[in-house]
Symmetry: C2
Subunit: 360 residues, 2 copies
């Protein structure tokens, strides 16, 4: 059986099964799943989410469900995770859905959309709205299940060496900003480039690029941009970057019901935990940046820039929806969900945060 | 053994254990835990959190860990949950920590504090700051473990029949607002009363009270306040109401490691899920209230009211910290955590929500 070859099975239970035809003993079969993650070894926060998930699954199953994590240095294919899990070379993956946009355009919608939902709103859409069903509609033809895999919170708009006061200031600006957000920025005059993370600091320092978008304080701090750029812009392009667990469908079908549920809950908890850990790590990092670099100014993009980006985003979404029924359905679902969720969040979270900021 | 009597044990595994001295088979022992919740049967959102937790635990353990939920109509002691779990009459409870303030004053700090942390910030304090350790320090002498049990999100400031324009307007105002928030309100002139939920609507309609604080749109909608009050005030007093799972320490010690971990993760996920479900249900309810009652105005308390409440809150906290080292330690930990977390949330979530509101 091809499917069986996906697993390493332990023989422990075999003698018992032979002795006693009890379903309790049958359930003791052991499974080791192999997971490929896009990140390098010991990548902070993102890589902790996979380890957290694996630890919970192993402990809850009393060792019956083990997950062996291969980082990018091992499998050498950070952006091959989709294909490897699809083909069954790996049972699971940990990555980001929008990386597969070139292969399957509608995977774009399950990470985070410019001007879109925040983490809480997006989890609500996934778990209590239509999000999970729509995501599964996109992944099913590729023999995979997809689950939320951890949230970074609102990504910052990036580090700029010069202040942005107008649309003109963006004209020809060289900026590291990949993906769909880069396309939006390109529409308003920016020259988006993609540069490997290890070269970003030097590129910004030497003026090869004028600005760089990375993640948020916790991960940005480690790359050192605060030492060479004075302007830190607030976020717009990825308000709730959700990572993703992929599970090969055959692997999933092979697991007994209790281990499926253990895996499902471990992934769900690890994802939520990462959202909360991101708040913690970002708070710590931002406190340290503020203290060591009091010169750094947090800025919002000027209104005209914001408006131009919103328009560019709408134009690109319309293009995506054209001739693709599923894309149109997903975009509509997200926009409708966001409308109601945000109306409530505005009278709850936003009002509270603003009132509190005023009395400080 | 007294401890053993807490459990109903299934005999299924006994023959196997006799046959084979295998730890795998030993682990098949079954446990049924009894949980008392403060809420009535089918209480929305709060009661769904316990059912969600029990379902996850049962499915992940393949039926080895069952949780039998007794609602308040059964055990007749909604505010006796602390004592019943402490004494081992129940293995678990689902309630809110601040209900035990009269018994153990420092339980106050683990639900939500006026002008305090939001749900994400508070989860970060619990899980990545000192929150869990401090909470355990409070509950350990009572032979219990305490875990986060689900968040309502920011509670609204309440329904008022008349607009509040000054501190004077609060003078002698009769309002349903219980607990510590009621004490804060009392300091600024309000006459706080506690009225059973079933009588609130009539009390507000007949003018027995002038205002009522309940939870947020989802739960408020069911009580119908939107039909008889025009002013809905934004929140300040419970920015992140966290419910609580209690577990009797002897019960916990009796569980094998894998079931402890299954229970821990099921509680953690159910708590997070409730935070997300609250966003969903509040968004739906607020959309419906807005549509059916377009006359309703969302208001912030005037600055002078806000400032007076902040001062009253600080005064009450100082009193709580006086002569109680643990209280002082908890208050300091929360204030310090909030400072850094909010500084980050202000450049991330608040900036984003404000920018988005401006372009609408």
């Amino acid at each position: 059986m091809k499917r069986r070859s996906l697993f390493k099975r332990a023989a422990t239970a075999v003698t018992l099964s032979a002795l006693l035809a009890s379903p309790l003993v049958y359930a003791q079969e052991k499974f080791t799943l192999r997971l490929a993650e896009t990140w390098g070894p010991n990548f902070p926060i993102f890589g902790e989410a996979t380890k957290n998930m694996a630890k919970m699954a192993e402990e809850m199953s009393d060792g019956r469900l083990r997950i062996r994590i291969d980082s990018a240095n091992k499998h050498k294919a950070p952006f091959g995770v989709f294909d490897m899990v699809k083909a069954g070379q790996y049972d699971m993956g940990h990555s980001a859905s929008y990386y597969w946009k070139g292969k399957v355009p509608n995977t774009l919608f399950f990470t985070s959309m410019p001007f879109g939902m925040t983490a809480q709103e997006q989890y609500a859409w996934f778990y209590y709205g239509d999000g999970m069903d729509l995501m599964q509609e996109v992944y099913e033809p590729h023999n995979m299940l997809s689950f939320p895999g951890g949230n970074t919170g609102i990504q910052m708009g990036g580090w700029f060496r010069d202040e942005i006061n107008s649309l003109e200031d963006l004209e020809g600006l060289k900026m590291r900003i990949p993906g769909f957000a880069g396309e939006v920025f390109a529409e308003v005059g920016v020259n988006p480039t993609n540069i490997p993370p290890g070269e970003l600091y030097t590129a910004l320092e030497r003026g090869t690029i004028d600005a760089v978008e990375w993640v948020g304080p916790a991960l940005d701090l480690r790359l050192g941009f605060q030492q060479i750029a004075d302007y830190y812009y607030t976020g717009w392009h990825e308000p709730a970057t959700e990572l993703q667990f992929l599970v090969n469908q055959d692997t999933w079908d092979e697991l007994p019901k209790d281990l499926q549920q253990i895996l499902r809950v471990a992934m769900r908890t690890a994802a939520y935990d990462m959202m909360i850990q991101s708040v913690h790590e970002n708070a710590k990092a931002w406190a340290s940046i503020k203290e060591e670099h009091p010169n750094i100014q947090v800025k919002n993009f000027p209104d005209e820039v914001f408006k131009a980006m919103v328009e560019a985003n709408e134009k690109l979404l319309e293009e995506a929806a054209e001739g693709d029924e599923l894309a149109a359905k997903i975009i509509e679902s997200q926009e409708k969900y966001l409308e109601d969720a945000r109306a409530y969040i505005n009278i709850a979270d936003r009002a509270y945060l603003n009132n509190m900021a005023e009395i400080e």
